[in-house]
């Protein structure tokens, strides 16, 4: 009897390790940076009306602009290094003819204008969200974040963090096709 009791801790522990291995190796679970799905997916894009960043930058835009075609809304800022990292991917999307809108999150108009001038402006229109009120309505927790909006103005997909080549090919592009097809 005593022998069995002393084996119990090892046995329980082995079971626990099994559970942990199952959780860690579950690739589906780990593939998503934000494991909690956004409550906004499947809901209409929040109402907003953002002004242009500066006269030289096309914009701003509002909820109405997002209806009628599938579009991508990218939240970015000039002070955000990952935004610079994803910039080529966003430009590539725009180059393929996707309507990409930019929400300029808590930025200085001058800095944003310079940044777009230096790295290129892929956006059809940029809205200045200096106090992050609109970003808040979008449920943005950090920059960059990228949303796919279908033709009815409903949020179809949300990506948190920079859009890497991998994310672009495996997530964004398939979801875009899905949104266009549906």
């Amino acid at each position: 009897m005593h022998r069995l009791i002393v084996i119990l801790p090892v046995a329980l522990f082995a079971g626990l390790i099994g559970v942990m291995v199952a959780l860690l190796t579950d690739s589906e679970r780990n593939s998503d940076l934000s494991r909690l799905p956004s409550p906004l997916i499947g809901k209409p894009a929040p109402a907003f009306d953002l002004p242009a960043v500066a006269e030289s930058v096309p914009g701003g835009f509002s909820t109405r602009d997002l209806k009628g075609q599938v579009s991508v809304v990218n939240v970015f800022a000039s002070w955000c290094v990952p935004c610079l990292a994803e910039h080529p991917m966003i430009s590539q999307l725009a180059g393929q003819g996707v309507a990409v809108y930019g929400i300029n999150h808590r930025d200085k108009p001058d800095a944003a204008t310079n940044w777009l001038g230096r790295h290129g402006n892929p956006y059809i229109a940029v809205g200045a969200d200096l106090d992050a009120r609109a970003s808040l309505d979008w449920g943005v927790t950090g920059v960059p974040e990228t949303f796919i909006i279908d033709a009815n103005g409903v949020i179809a997909y949300k990506h948190v963090g920079p859009v890497t080549k991998d994310v672009l090919n495996k997530k964004i592009l398939p979801k875009l096709r899905e949104a266009e097809g549906g």
Binding site: H2, R3, V6, I7, P9, V10, F13, A14, L16, I17, V19, M20, V21, A22, L23, L24, T25, D26, E28, R29, N30, R35, L36, A77, W79, C80, V81, H105, R106, A132, R133, G142, V143
Partner: protein
């Protein structure tokens, strides 16, 4: 260059740990004293190497060397110096470095101060300690290198998590790690004893001071963390049963049980295999906590940047360390025969009850923390639940009640065979105090929750029982006062430490009860100059000012608090926006008296045009909340006092000494 030195000594530490984990073990098995002594040298060498590595990383942060990836990701040139330094451990890589540094420092302390340990036991303890070190050093070097360079070096960093930019939190992790990792000593001693196949009173005497030191640090660390959560998170609460809080609380519960069961091994040569198991479990909880926080298995405000590869690595360390220790336990434990026999009603019996309750409590917390994970794994990811405060409040509280009742009784029982009658006689003051506390509480707050007066009675019972036991030791008022004074001075510090630690818990219960039962709050929106009534006070938003801190912008509100026209205080609360991190934090304004905290927080500004000049204001009256941290301080002080007991320093009697050889110089001190 300095970072490369850090990188080099980090690898050197791994090599030293590898040597220390193997050769001394071999030496102990074969009786080669030269190989056993080698462990001392490598332990000290390892600690020195890691100190240099830690200094090198600190240098990187202090000089804002953004060519280092961790510095770039976690620091910023505008950050105040204090937070540049605390930034060293405010991230995954640096905190792991601190983790192994603490581990190595504990080993070095054994090497330096453990002169009276038998050479074979010392060699084995250090070897086990080094095995853990090898695992974590390899983890750091292969998956979380703090000295990784970035090219080209960015101009400036991305900043520390703004929530961590706070003096309370700056020192919270080091304390916590000293506690967490300190339990590795008890673990290594336990595994070494299993290898030797021998546990005796002397062993328990060597283990206790290390456990006590770790326990004291962990108590301080948890208290500091909860204090930080209280004033920084702005929710007015101080404990949230967050998985990461639980991760630090579980080793504390097991460690507390271990402290008490080691006393039984030391004094009575009983409970051996149980104590060994507790030592293993305590450190296992520390490892589990490290794993949960860093693997990304859990989602929490505390979770570090996650990476499945790292998770698998820590899991492998965890599985090997705990798995081997528990297997060794399963093989060796049946052979360990306890010596001391005792009746159920005895000091031993009370300590066993204490152990059972603490273990069940720890098991409850463990279950609540892991249940969502287990369910998710079993259901294949379809079932997701979260277990929150209602579960823990409903299960943890009821376990604590008998524990606290026992705490007053246990110290009054004699070893081997106690009588309830004598104890009951000594507990009359405690019973009177409890009834008095219940009555007074009920009269003062008749409309509060019904359980609150009972909880206050419990606290009074524990406090009065503890004081009565202390008074009995020094025969207060039974003999002339100078005579009592002499006895008080002769009281072993370990005994006084126990009295203080138990009193600390009583004080803490008062605080917990007060803040959870009688908290009142007012949540409203105010335009500057406007007032609102609530929570027994009038709150006026007297002014809002805006300004700039070193790396943030703030909105600062002054809240004038009056009670029936009498001005009490003006609370200053801030909302800080950190543009670099894009995050907002709040600083609560707190006015503390011994009886309560007035706690004010400013929230968001209104978003629609007609509310754009109004701010959300939350105001709490948290009765007795300061008692929670006062109690924790008393507990920490008790632990520290006990650590300075000369018996710990003089060391244990030699093994195989006759049982009477350890007798106390002072008969009053016979515990």
């Amino acid at each position: 260059m300095i970072a490369e030195i850090g990188q080099f000594v980090l690898i050197l530490a791994l090599v030293l740990a590898g040597v220390q984990a193997t050769l001394p073990l071999w030496g102990a098995a074969r009786g080669h004293s030269a190989l056993m002594v080698l462990a001392d040298r490598t332990a000290i060498g390892q600690a020195a190497a890691l100190l240099i590595a830690f200094a090198a990383l600190t240098h990187g942060f202090v000089t804002s060397d953004f060519s280092l990836t961790v510095v770039f990701q976690n620091s910023h040139s505008l950050k105040p110096m204090l937070y540049k330094v605390s930034g060293v451990w405010g991230n995954h890589e640096g905190s792991m470095l601190l983790w192994v540094l603490v581990l190595a420092l504990f080993s070095a302390a054994v090497a330096l101060f453990g002169r009276n340990l038998p050479p074979s036991l010392k060699a084995r303890v250090l070897a086990v300690q080094a095995m853990i070190g090898v695992g974590f050093l390899a983890f750091i070097i292969f998956t979380s290198n703090p000295f990784a360079r970035l090219s080209p070096a960015p101009l400036d960093g991305t900043g520390l998590n703004p929530l961590l930019q706070d003096p309370g939190l700056a020192f919270h992790p080091p304390l916590l790690y000293l506690g967490y990792v300190g339990f590795s000593m008890a673990f290594s001693f336990a595994v070494a004893a299993l290898i030797e196949g021998r546990v005796d009173a002397a062993w328990a005497r060597w283990v206790r001071p290390w456990t006590l030191a770790a326990w004291t640090f962990l108590t301080a660390g948890i208290a500091l963390g909860s204090w930080w959560a209280y004033y920084e998170l702005g929710w007015g609460g101080w404990w949230f049963w967050d998985p990461v809080e639980n991760a630090s609380f579980m080793p504390w519960l097991f460690g507390t049980a271990l402290l008490h069961s080691a006393i039984v091994v030391e004094k009575r040569d009983a409970l051996k295999s149980w104590t060994i198991l507790l030592a293993i479990l305590t450190f296992s909880m520390s490892l589990l906590g490290t794993f949960l926080v860093r693997s990304g298995v859990l989602t929490s405000v505390h979770a570090f940047a996650t990476d499945p590869e790292r998770g698998i690595f820590i899991l492998a360390i965890l599985a090997l360390t705990i798995g081997i220790a528990l297997t060794l336990f399963a093989i060796r434990a049946p052979g360990m025969k306890g010596g001391g026999l005792f009746a159920p009603v005895s000091r031993e019996g009370a300590l066993i009850a204490n152990n059972m309750l603490l273990t069940v409590a720890a098991g409850t917390v463990l279950l609540g923390t892991l249940y969502p994970l287990i369910l998710e794994a079993v259901s294949g990811g379809t079932a997701k639940v979260s277990v929150g405060p209602p579960f823990f409040n409903a299960t943890f509280g009821p376990i604590m009640v008998p524990l606290v009742i026992m705490m007053a009784i246990g110290p009054l029982l004699a070893w081997k065979r106690g009588t309830l009658k004598t104890a009951a006689h000594k507990l009359i003051p405690a019973a009177i105090a409890a009834i008095l506390a219940i009555t007074v509480t009920f009269i003062l707050v008749p409309d509060g929750p019904g359980l609150a007066p009972l909880a206050m009675g419990l606290a009074a019972w524990l406090a009065a029982g503890t004081i009565a036991e202390w008074a009995g030791r020094i025969k207060l008022f039974a003999i002339p006062v100078p005579e009592s004074w002499r006895r008080l001075k002769g009281l072993p510090r370990a005994t006084s430490g126990m009295t203080l630690a138990h009193l600390g818990l009583a004080i803490m219960i008062v605080g917990i009860t007060g803040s959870s039962a009688w908290r009142t709050e007012l949540i409203t929106t105010l335009v500057p100059g406007e007032s609102a009534q609530g929570a027994g006070h009038t709150v006026t938003l007297s002014a809002i000012t805006q300004g700039r801190g070193p790396n943030y912008n703030y909105e600062r509100a002054s809240l004038l608090i009056t009670d029936k026209g009498r001005e009490i205080t003006t609370l200053t609360t801030e909302r800080r926006f950190f543009p670099i991190a894009g995050q907002t934090t709040t600083e609560a304004g707190i006015y503390t008296t011994i009886l309560s905290d007035l706690y004010g927080v400013i929230g968001e500004r209104g978003r629609t045009p007609d509310t754009s000049n109004a701010w959300t204001v939350r105001f709490f009256v948290n009765p007795l909340v300061p008692w929670i941290w006062l109690g924790a301080m008393v507990m920490v002080f008790g632990g520290s006092l006990s650590l300075t007991d000369r018996r710990h320093r003089v060391g244990a009697p030699r093994r195989a000494a006759t049982p009477g050889a350890a007798s106390q110089p002072n008969p009053a001190a016979a515990e």
